[in-house]
């Protein structure tokens, strides 16, 4: 399958990339690794008139450590998330999730920023960023803007990014004492997209949960937080029974963007089972 024609530019600075996006108007689209976009171009699901390639902007491929946060450059690849010592130490959920993205060759090119900006409701990294309460750092003609992940994903493949804005990084809090993480993913066969993914971060003090962040992939038109389960877990005993009870509170009325032919009842059951498994697995992390 051959994409429709488009123009291509490879800016050398973030400023030039923003200028190119602005000049390109509604027809401009950013490409980084291209692991989702090239597919969509081939199927002509998107028909940009201009591709702005940010894959070579070195400033966007840095991981910067702040006292309480990591700022992960947008073009950091899934492979790098999997192996970078700082990400593994301070944001292990992102490393865990990266392992579930594509295959080694795809992870060599696919980027965190690309996955977040692509906003596939079944994408694994967006759910992790949401569970982390990550912030999306954006550059545009009006300067820098920071968007909380809870406000960033607005619909299937739709985000709060303006057409002339560029996602330059993702800022996540460093994981503190007592937190453990897990990502549980289910798909119907080896190369199918995620049918359901559950990103979990829990904090325990003694025998008690003190914090819980749980985000689901493909349970709605965007990644969503399982707020009812989070609330039920906080203060609960660290027992499998308490975890099961909390997971059973999961809203069963989910409307995934891509249902993949399974029934509502199947999905609701799956979500509860995976959420329980994910929390239990996080505890033994």
């Amino acid at each position: 399958m051959i994409p429709a024609p488009f123009d291509y530019t490879r800016p050398t600075t973030v400023e030039d990339a923003v200028t190119a996006l602005r000049a390109g108007g509604a027809g401009a689209k950013v490409i980084a690794g291209g692991q989702s976009l090239v597919r969509m171009l081939q199927r002509r699901l998107v028909r940009p008139t201009l591709l702005v390639d940010v894959g070579c902007l070195s400033r966007m491929r840095e991981v910067v450590e702040e006292p309480d946060h990591l700022v992960i450059g947008a073009t950091t690849t899934q492979h790098e998330l999997l192996h970078d010592a700082r990400v593994r130490a301070h944001a292990p959920l992102l490393s865990l999730v990266a392992r579930h993205v594509g295959d080694p060759a795809v992870r060599h090119r696919g980027t965190l920023g690309g996955s977040v900006a692509h906003a596939d409701p079944a994408g694994d990294p967006p759910a992790a960023v949401l569970a982390l309460d990550g912030e999306i750092i954006v550059e545009g003609p009006r300067g820098e803007r920071v968007i909380p992940s809870a406000e960033f994903f607005v619909g299937p493949f739709r985000t709060a990014l303006e057409p002339d804005e560029l996602l330059v990084g993702v800022r996540v809090p460093k994981m503190g004492e007592g937190w453990t993480v897990h990502y549980e993913k289910f798909r119907l066969s080896a190369q199918k997209p995620t049918l359901l993914g559950v990103a979990v971060m829990v904090r325990r003090v003694g025998d008690c949960f003190t914090d819980a962040h749980i985000a689901l992939a493909n349970s709605g038109s965007t990644p969503v937080r399982a707020t009812a389960v989070e609330v039920a877990l906080v203060g609960a005993d660290v027992t499998e029974e308490a975890v099961t009870k909390a997971a059973d509170l999961l809203d069963g009325t989910m409307e995934p963007f891509a249902r993949q032919g399974v029934s509502q009842a199947y999905l609701a059951h799956l979500a509860r089972v995976l959420t329980r498994r994910a929390v239990v697995a996080a505890l033994s992390w």
Binding site: Q42, G55, P104, A105, H108
Partner: protein, 157 residues
């Protein structure tokens, strides 16, 4: 049209290409390097896997313009002084191919693994070849061949 300079298998190629041209089509149709095959054209099968700047990539999922300034190694460029690469030899000796269509990608993905993990365990080989499909179901022999090539290349037996 856009001018690109891409080094492929040690030769510098300068070409005018349409931005929509995929790297795999650049290799096969522009440079006539047809050993790299196109299997699915959807990023699943891995037949078109090449080395792009030191890391495996599916050349059907990369635009040729994205590879401007890059170094590409294909299955046609891995022989060492005219001798088959240890992986090529191991695939041949251990019957790790039947129809051979997936083989260029299998070998390039395996080469990427051996570059990072010289003596991989069977699970590591399986994981590394996750994105490469063989429809003759020859996986057992492929895994055995990759492990054998790793040992031959210098790891302890």
């Amino acid at each position: 049209m856009r001018r690109v300079v891409i080094t492929v298998d040690g030769v510098v190629h300068e070409s005018e290409v349409e931005p929509r041209l995929l790297l795999v089509h650049f290799l096969r149709d522009v440079l006539n390097l047809t050993a790299t095959t196109i299997g699915c054209d959807t990023g699943n099968c891995g037949a078109c896997t090449v080395d792009l700047d030191g890391a495996s990539a599916k050349s059907c999922s990369v635009l040729a313009v994205q590879a401007d300034g890059s170094t590409v190694t294909t299955i046609q460029g891995i022989a060492i002084r005219g001798e088959r690469h240890p992986l090529q030899r191991a695939f041949h000796e251990r019957h790790a191919l039947q129809c051979g269509y997936c083989t260029p990608g299998m070998i390039m993905a395996a080469r990427d693994l051996l570059g990072r993990v010289p003596c991989p365990r069977p699970e590591e080989v399986r994981e590394a070849l996750q994105g490469n499909l063989c429809r003759c179901t020859g996986y057992q022999n492929i895994i055995a061949a990759v492990i054998a090539a790793g040992r031959e290349q210098g790891g302890p037996a």
